[in-house]
Amino acid sequence: MENIFIGIASSLRGFFSGLGVPDLYNDIIMLVVKLVSILVFILVNALWLVYMERRVCAFMQSRLGPIHVGPKGLLQSFADIGKLLGKEIILPKGIDLVVFLLMPVLIFVPPLLIYAVIPFGKDMVAVDMNIGVFYLLAVASLSTILFWAAGWSSNNKYSLIGGMRSVAQMVSYELPLILALLGVIMLTGTLNINQIVNAQNGIWFILTQPIAFLIYFIAGVAETNRTPFCLVEGESEIIAGPYTEYSGMGFAMFFLAEYANVMIISAMCTVMFLGGWLAPFGLDFIPSWLWFFLKMYVMIFIFMWVRWTYPRIRVDQLMGFGWKVLVPLSLANIFVTGVGMYIYRAIGW
């Protein structure tokens, strides 16, 4: 079980070299296979998350949620996608056509790029990058301009307000997000995600860096634009923000990208603070990738729990909270971590 995916990969590679394919092309083929499987993974998971969100939401709201399509409503997401595919894509008057049509497509690029560096299990990472964490943060910041451009091109004031909010929100929450991760990076002294996971063999960083975890979680919720920081969509104020004018599959793409982003933030929480694919309490008989998913889904559930419990914060409160609470707190966390490490070394453990 543990090595099932690695086994598949190596047998595939063996199959191709058996056919006489040179190593270079074999590498490229394997990369494509990995990327395609990541794409499939994202889509399947996003579809599942749509279903899960509805079930969790229904559970929180004391109702049933989707139960009719397929067993326990499992096929609901497929029905939704089918419905959305059949919808006409409405092009409002005065839009910037190219940008308008391009954004739902491009919105999937940053998540896709990020998944390349996430270790789904022991030795299960598409690209083991030296500066994985930094790369991840850099790419994640790209999606903001896509939201903004989608909002701008819609030629709708609600969309534009949503787009501007997404920019303002990103500016205030990217900083605490990065600063929170700095604490972990200081402890491990590396930007390599695999090494960070390995460093948590003894103790998970959620125990040594609880404040950083909290800051990362809050800023992560803000990054994914979910309640209580769902100002970008804010459906009771600005309808659906940048997605207001999108219909059919264009809207569905934004919708799925949101879930892809939720998965990324959850996966990052898992990797950076919850020991990644490491098995706790020596429960090694469960394969590492299963551990990773378990932890990731616990985080996703918490995300959903928060979403269906809290009201939405106001835009100036959001900025104030980011700049006046989270940034100083994360700076203090870095300071305390530095001092702590110094003392730790001075004692000489």
Binding site: N130, L137, A138, L142, A149, V167, E174
Partner: protein
Amino acid sequence: MIMGFLNSISYVAAAFHTLAAVVVISALLVVFVRNIVHSVLWLAVCFVSLAGVFLTLNADFIAAVQVMVYAGAVCIMVVFGIMLIRRRDMGETNLFNGQTVAAAGVTALVIMLSGFLSFKVGSVTSPAPVPADTVGNIATLLLSKYVIPFEVAALLLLVALVGAVFLAKEVKADADSDS
């Protein structure tokens, strides 16, 4: 035959040339498109492909910095700039003004100067291989050899930050929005 052709080219070189072409074309489009929003979006394309160029040079850290600082943050700043432009229709916001000739002169001068300098220096290839741990080296250099410039830069940014806060405060007194 195709296999032979594929084997003959260097993938890194191909990637470099493609990316370089994208950089140049997108940079030209930044200047020539008439809509300033499109111009900004092309600028983002330019920065991201520039990060790609850095990657072909094995400078992964610089590439990530390029994406984060330029493609991420600078574009956002430009967006804020656009929002200050008072125009209902963004169609004619990135036009040429009367100083085309002067600008062409300056540009030509810069190109000539940089061409002359690169010719004089010649293309130097470092015999040492690219170290795997670029980040560690950068950190060590920043905090030992270049610690004073590093601190001065930090101080400069701090001053800029305080100045920005001060300016924002002034604006607040004018009953401005907080976006």
